[in-house]
């Protein structure tokens, strides 16, 4: 079943009471941003309503790489205009998708928060690989890698609490094959279906669909990068569940992206540090917020 097999996928997921969904703010923002002709005023209204998202947008627009040495600081409206749709989409996902993903991966035996940590770590690596290769948009790669495992959210529901460890006969084989035998589709195919439902750009849908098996012909930089980032996140100890390390790395994608052992080790260390920093900032932010509320 490919992403083209929508009838099959509708049949598979149609029985679910509710499909996994992004929080309303992110869903609305993504839908507007992917339309291309979105209204700047409407995007501003959505971003302004979310404190974290507005702050992240201002931070990014006023960062050294965007401010171009400008001494004045940009307001939200200007920031939105400067950043462009791909960056805004990435910021909306980075700020909001954690609510959707934090509890995901239970059927794979993942502890609470582990799926989100793995998504973030892989996203950080994908962004770096895109910057280094110069062949794909770093923000698009970040978003695609962040969403690569959303299919696991639907698998959690489909499996009715049954752990992934029981789907396998015990033989060592790619875990997507195990999932296909069990459900008729694997988490990457299901994820691509969801990404399409969430109005994600086609490049992201494809990268989610192929994050364990990047297409051989024609090849795609974003698919190769997200695939390598997924493996590197695993080496960083992120998102290791009942599927363990049973997701082979494509030697062709590895060579195309040009990763070698020392680089991979440095990127794995970077991925974990990135995740820990974000979590620390979130905790500090929550703490400050609490203090402010107390003193208010």
């Amino acid at each position: 079943m490919g992403t083209g097999g929508l009838t099959d996928m509708n049949k598979l997921l149609g029985g679910l009471e509710r499909l996994p969904a992004l929080p309303a703010t992110a869903a609305r923002a993504i839908s507007l941003l992917s339309q291309g002709n979105s209204s700047a005023a409407e995007i501003e209204r959505i971003f302004r309503a979310d404190e974290g998202l507005a702050a992240a947008t201002l931070r990014r627009a006023n960062s050294a790489s965007y401010a171009n040495g400008s001494k004045r600081s940009f307001g939200l409206k200007e920031s939105i205009a400067r950043l462009g749709n791909r960056v805004l989409m990435r910021l909306a996902l980075e700020q909001q998708a954690s609510n959707t993903m934090r509890d995901g991966g239970k059927s794979y035996g993942l502890e609470r928060g582990a799926l989100w940590r793995s998504s973030l770590g892989g996203a950080a690596v994908a962004e770096k690989l895109a910057q280094e290769s110069g062949q794909a948009d770093p923000d698009l790669c970040f978003s695609a890698a962040l969403l690569r495992d959303i299919g696991k959210l639907a698998v959690d529901t489909l499996s009715h609490g049954e752990r992934a460890v029981s789907w396998n006969s015990g033989a060592d084989r790619p875990f997507v094959d195990v999932e296909r035998d069990r459900f008729g589709a694997d988490h990457a195919q299901i994820g691509a279906f969801l990404a399409e439902k969430w109005s994600m750009p086609q490049e992201i849908v494809l990268a989610v669909r192929h994050h364990h098996q990047p297409p051989e012909s024609p090849t795609s930089w974003i698919c190769d990068i997200v695939h390598c980032a997924d493996c590197i996140a695993r080496w960083a100890g992120l998102g290791i569940g009942d599927d363990g390390m049973c997701h082979p790395l494509s030697p062709r994608a590895r060579d195309a992206v040009g990763i070698h052992r020392e680089r991979v080790e440095a990127l794995a260390a970077y991925a974990l540090e990135f995740v820990n920093t974000i979590e620390r900032d979130l905790q500090q932010g929550a703490h400050q917020h609490q203090q402010q509320r107390k003193s208010a």
Binding site: V165, R234, G237, G244, L249, A268, A269, Y270
Partner: protein, 178 residues
């Protein structure tokens, strides 16, 4: 390694668990508790336990050598075998562990399925650990490493028993003689 017999104690409550994350370590001598690390892939969990003082510790390291990321090794030694293992031992000594009595175990070091030998991160982790132990005259009492599956490792601070949960089965890696 043998299968855990029926009548095994109940799972630990959250208060009884000291959880070690990735690139993290913990030492303790609270006999009512256990040190746990979840989901070891290519990373390796190393445990040490002194049966007399009941001091135990666990390290969950990610990579063999800190030289690939020197600043990260300085900031977080537990990320690397060459910096984390000495730190684990030192911390246990401070709590009263004695080197000659230590029971040392390891688990993890799995490999990406069908990897063609290009990276071998799990194998490099295993090799570095053995090299460190060999250089320092430390013997592993038991280990469960390699393959492509994840492992959860638990050290009971009551008696030093180590259990491994992998592929839905729990096994005893090391336990004191009855």
């Amino acid at each position: 390694m043998s299968t855990i017999p029926p009548g095994t104690p109940k799972p630990l409550t959250a208060d009884q668990r000291i959880v070690v994350g990735v690139a993290d370590l913990a030492v303790s001598k609270e006999p009512g508790k256990a040190i746990v690390t979840y989901a070891l892939g290519s990373c390796i969990g190393v445990t040490i336990f002194d049966p007399i003082t009941k001091v135990g510790g666990m390290l969950h390291f990610m990579l063999p050598e800190g030289k690939t990321s020197p600043e990260k090794a300085a900031a977080n030694p537990a990320m690397f075998a060459d910096a984390g293992v000495p730190l684990l031992f030192q911390k246990a000594y401070k709590l009263g562990a004695e080197r000659s009595r230590l029971i040392v175990c390891a688990a993890g070091g799995a490999e990406i399925l069908a990897e063609d030998g290009h990276f071998r991160i799990g194998a490099r982790n295993r090799t570095m650990l053995r090299k460190l132990f060999w250089q320092n005259n430390v013997l592993l009492s038991a280990d469960d490493t390699g393959g492509s599956h994840s492992r959860t490792m638990t050290l009971s601070l009551a008696n030093g028993a180590i259990s491994i949960r992998s592929q839905g089965k729990e096994t005893v890696l090391w336990a004191p003689a009855a």
